[in-house]
């Protein structure tokens, strides 16, 4: 390598940052096409029922409109994901409020909106189900034979026999609510579609190949006739993982029928009411411990609400299940989990993907268990943290050096935890504003579960130009997390070049190979590693063809590329995912190496509780995590800080108000996310224990910060008030009721 300092580990300017700070970055609504129509969706007013009729009011010139219903779909009326149960447009029945039924397109977006309101869908209602309880109780069968999308059973040791060895047994039940991803850029796509050329879609999305896959059976087209291009995307957080397939299908259907480009952009109210949210959950814990606080038995029942169709619920359930027993060593565990159907718009991917739900329950419960043992919550954790060589609930052996006690010590030192724990306890009785400090300890697995990455078989390509510039071809998208910058650093270091010479090709399915979806905290750890190998492969090609020595300058590289391309036409290397050696996962028993790597963390939250208004404020937040290797300090800290802010919203502010399966507070005025005035100082600290199979040793971190804040905050609220709250969000109204319950 000729360059002096590696870029990995340094905070280089964001690759596409200049475009973003000047307003030049082009998001999908910034794009216009000649002759473009605007598209809109007419949606079901009812939660469940049979479509009796669709009325078009007389006041609209309907002959000017393109109108699409289910019968206009050329191929299968289905949005393909895991199962084939979700229609693209409802045909005979509807199963959730806001389910799409009719599509309209017109050049005038104002008249289009009038028209949307002039279509009435008449529905004969059927009994509907709106809660996990009612779904489990089968008040109505609304999906399949028993409302059950998926279930898992994880067993370790012999939990039934183990209760006998427990001195103390503690039960608890915990609930988490739906959460809206609330990316500041709503969903939007533009489509061009016709029989001869096929379908092309540009849009705000995380996974162009998911959209590509979903469009094929809808139109009955071969792969090469469908092209999906990611536009600059204003946030995703999982909310643009699977949902874009639906909106892309709609725009494409209108384009197909009209023969014109069609743009569909959701306004905020539509986006909130109609698209996916985080799965609500209910977790029951039964935990057996010895007198000295050692775990002997854990039985966990974990249920998530998947909404009306299967979509990604089995995978959310999987991750939530695997994380349900946390970073602890317990010889006997049973985790029973289920994903059930309700008549709400399908719930979907949201950063954390099941783990924030099950970790909330666990970290709340273990504070309760600690209390029952007469131990401080941190002492209880110390006695049970998994260590190197230990096994998690899914029987995964932790081979790496893991030192959770050290992470905890550091988090406590940075937050002054012990002193504050004592001081607040002393001062609270006479204070009107009570203070509390609490923590959560957790882990987050990166990459797809088990054999998921093998199944994805991701491919990345790196190519060089005759000018010595290098292009990365991957389907991984930049959605703010820093994909473009990280990939540039990795390639620049692999080839010893300036990162200005590295370009990231726009994720366009016609031009880039399928490196898998931008989800599951896999983009740096899994795809970044492939990017590194492909870049090294490219170098190796030049070296082994005698055009380059092991040490070379930028000019040497350029002339070697030019020479190679002159001789062979193109210079390109690909890399395909191969699992690290020794990874074994049993899909039947749900046991083994669930994830290639875990990041480990301890988060501490300090809160104030105002006993006049019951308002809770987070005053300070410390986040300590071991992440393998920090590739870009500013980007990495940015991920943690942003995730923590979302976690604070999840714990305290973000409340979806449901009425018969419909979100009725679908406005930013009424669905509350934290502003700059609401976030505490967030102090982030990293430790590094390199993961050998990640680029530079990096593990995935995108979702990690979502898991810790809610339990840490609610643990802190308990410390401040003495009240144990088991459901989030903890709004002031909820806290008031809880405090009253205590005083009654």
């Amino acid at each position: 390598m000729h360059s002096e300092k590696p870029l990995i580990g340094r905070s280089v300017p964001r690759k596409e940052g200049r475009e973003k700070v000047t307003g030049r970055a082009r998001y999908v609504d910034d794009l216009v096409f000649p002759g473009m129509l605007h598209g809109a969706t007419v949606r079901s007013p009812a939660a469940r029922g049979r479509i009796r009729a669709i009325h078009f009011d007389k006041n609209i010139p309907w002959n000017e409109f393109t109108i699409v219903t289910a019968k206009d779909i050329p191929g299968e009326n289905c949005v393909t994901l895991i199962l084939h149960d979700q229609p693209c447009l409802a045909a005979e029945t509807v199963n959730h409020p806001e389910e799409p039924v009719v599509l309209l397109a017109h050049p005038d977006k104002y008249l289009l909106e009038e028209a949307r309101r002039s279509v009435r869908i008449e529905i004969e209602p059927l009994p509907a189900v709106f809660s996990i309880e009612d779904s489990l109780a089968k008040k109505a069968i609304i999906w399949g034979e028993d409302n059950l999308f998926k279930k898992f059973l994880v067993e370790k040791g012999d939990v039934d026999a183990a209760w006998a060895a427990a001195d103390i047994i503690v039960d608890g039940e915990y609930e988490t609510a739906a959460q809206e991803q609330l990316y500041i850029e709503p969903n939007g796509v533009i489509a061009i579609a016709n029989r001869s050329e096929g379908v092309t879609v540009w849009g705000s999305m995380q996974c162009p190949y998911y959209v590509h896959k979903a469009l094929l059976p809808l139109f009955g087209l071969p792969k090469e006739k469908v092209r999906v291009v990611q536009a600059e995307t204003g946030g995703g957080f999982g909310g643009k993982e699977e949902y874009p397939s639906m909106i892309a299908a709609h725009a494409a259907l209108l384009a197909w029928k009209s023969g014109k480009p069609v743009k569909i952009i959701y306004d905020r109210a539509e986006d909130m009411a109609a698209t996916t949210k985080r799965h609500p959950s209910r977790t029951r814990h039964r935990t057996g411990v010895t007198h000295d606080g050692k775990l002997v038995a854990m039985e966990i029942d974990f249920v998530i609400d998947g909404g009306a169709y299967c979509t990604l619920s089995p995978v959310v359930l999987s991750r939530g299940t695997i994380h349900a027993a946390g970073p602890y060593e317990c010889p006997n565990v049973r985790i029973r989990s289920r994903a059930v159907a309700t008549n709400a718009p399908p719930h979907g991917a949201f950063r954390g993907f099941g783990a924030p739900q099950s970790i909330f329950a666990l970290e709340r419960h273990l504070d309760k268990v600690a209390k029952a043992c007469g131990l401080a919550p941190d002492e209880f954790r110390r006695r049970n943290f998994v260590q190197q060589g230990g096994t998690l609930a899914v029987s995964q052996v932790i081979h790496e050096k893991v030192d959770l006690p050290r992470l905890m010590d550091r988090a406590f030192e940075c937050s002054d935890y012990h002193a504050k724990r004592a001081r607040f306890a002393r001062e609270n009785p006479s204070a009107r504003v009570k203070k509390g400090i609490g923590f959560a300890a957790f882990l987050h697995g990166a990459g797809f579960t088990g054999s998921g990455e093998e199944f994805l078989a991701s491919v990345v390509a790196v190519e060089a130009t005759a000018e010595g510039r290098v292009r990365v071809l991957a389907a991984s998208t930049e959605i703010g997390q820093g994909t473009n910058t990280i990939f540039s650093q990795i390639v620049a270091d692999a080839l010893g070049l300036d990162s200005a010479l590295v370009e990231i090709a726009p994720p366009d399915t016609a031009a880039v190979p399928n490196s898998g979806p931008t989800v599951a905290s896999r983009t740096t750890m899994i795809v970044g590693k492939l990017v590194e190998s492909a870049a090294l492969g490219l170098k190796q090609t030049l070296v082994s063809s005698g055009l380059l020595h092991e040490k070379f300058s930028t000019e040497d590289f350029r002339s070697a590329c030019a020479e190679y391309i002159r001789k062979h036409g193109a210079l390109r290397a690909t890399s395909q995912y191969a699992p690290p050696p020794g990874i074994h996962w049993d899909d039947e028993k749900y046991q083994g190496d669930a994830y290639g790597a875990y990041a480990w963390a301890v988060y501490v939250a300090e809160v104030s509780v105002d006993t006049s208004t019951y308002e809770i404020r987070v005053d300070d937040f410390v986040a300590v995590q071991e992440v393998g290797k920090v590739i870009h300090p500013v980007l990495a800290a940015g991920q943690i800080e942003g995730g923590i802010a979302q976690g604070i919203g999840y714990a305290l502010y973000e409340n979806v108000v449901w009425q018969e399966g419909r979100m009725v507070n679908a406005q930013m005025t009424n669905y509350i996310m934290p502003t700059s005035a609401d976030v505490p100082p967030i102090r982030v600290f990293f430790e590094e224990n390199p993961y050998p199979f990640g680029p530079g040793g990096a593990k995935g971190i995108g979702e990690l910060p979502m898991d810790g804040p809610a339990p840490a905050i609610v643990n802190a609220i308990e410390h401040a008030t003495g009240v144990s709250i088991t459901k989030i969000p903890v709004t002031p109204e909820v806290l008031m009721e809880a405090l009253e319950g205590v005083n009654a």
Binding site: Y110, S612, Y653, N665
Partner: protein
């Protein structure tokens, strides 16, 4: 954007006189449009039934803050930013400045106006409780003439006002009689900033030897309109030194003067309890 824009008119009369003539000629057909921070939200949600508006935003007669020895008079188009920038208001009417600082965001404060806020008549509005405890008066003007009225009599019921269909709110007048009074304003919203109020209490009191000689208390978000709690005020004037029992009794009376509801932002029970707690906090001043 859920409104059919071509159907909306927004004309710009150049003088107040012309605006009033328009209102006189076609009463109830035309409504005034000030900064737009309420009306444009309704427009975009597809909920703006009114189609014809006349912009008053640039009418000079409705701007400015005038001071005499007895009064401060604010033009109806005084923005929240302008309220906060007034040294006199900061010094003598701090609750109005507090309310303005807690309304929306900087961007909203640059466009939102006191007159617009009063005319929008939301029970959750932030400034009206402060105006109520300052015994504000409103000037209402039409082609027929002008009248002043106590703001306490303006709101008759939910979104019902003593405002004829040909009248405009032009000025808001407050008497400079609050110097030396204790002043309290607390808005409890859904978050620290840019929040709709769940409960809001404004209070001013004058003490004399430890007892309350005079007091005004007003609340927002606990009734169909913003309310002055006159029974509570009466009780406090007669209460003498405030013992814990007296404070409790005051809270009971306050509770009887408000009618909070459950909505998707909060609950009646929470609003009632917090209103009483804020009262206690005010009385501890």
């Amino acid at each position: 954007m859920r409104a059919y824009l071509p159907k909306y008119e927004l004309v710009t009369p150049t003088a107040l006189e012309d605006a009033l003539k328009l209102l006189a000629r076609e009463p109830a057909q035309w409504k005034p449009f000030a900064g737009g921070t309420d009306l444009m939200v309704l427009l975009e949600a597809g909920k703006l039934a009114q189609r014809k508006f006349f912009s008053i935003w640039k009418l000079p007669e409705l701007h400015g803050i005038a001071e005499t020895r007895e009064h401060v008079t604010l033009g109806a188009l005084t923005t929240y930013t302008e309220v906060q920038r007034s040294e006199t208001l900061q010094r003598e009417f701090p609750l109005l400045c507090r309310a303005a600082a807690e309304t929306g965001s900087v961007a909203t404060q640059n466009r939102g106006t006191l007159g617009g806020n009063i005319a929008n008549a939301s029970p959750a509005a932030d400034s009206p409780p402060a105006l109520l405890v300052y015994d504000a008066e409103l000037e209402l003007v039409s082609a027929r003439g002008a009248r002043w009225m106590p703001y306490t009599q303006f709101h008759k019921g939910y979104k019902q006002m003593d405002l004829a269909s040909d009248e405009l709110i032009t000025r808001i007048r407050i008497a400079r009689t609050r110097s030396g009074w204790r002043q309290y304003y607390r808005k409890v919203g859904t978050r620290s900033a840019q929040a709709i109020s769940k409960v809001c209490l404004a209070g001013v009191s004058r003490r004399d030897n430890g007892r309350i000689a005079d007091v005004r208390i007003a609340l927002g978000s606990v009734a169909p309109t913003v309310v002055r709690c006159v029974k509570t005020e009466e009780f406090l004037r007669a209460a003498g030194v405030l013992t814990p029992a007296a404070v409790k009794r005051t809270q009971e009376i306050l509770s009887g003067e408000i009618a909070p509801i459950d909505d998707f932002r909060s609950t009646a029970k929470y609003r009632r309890r917090v209103a009483c707690n804020l009262l206690a906090e005010f009385l501890r001043l």
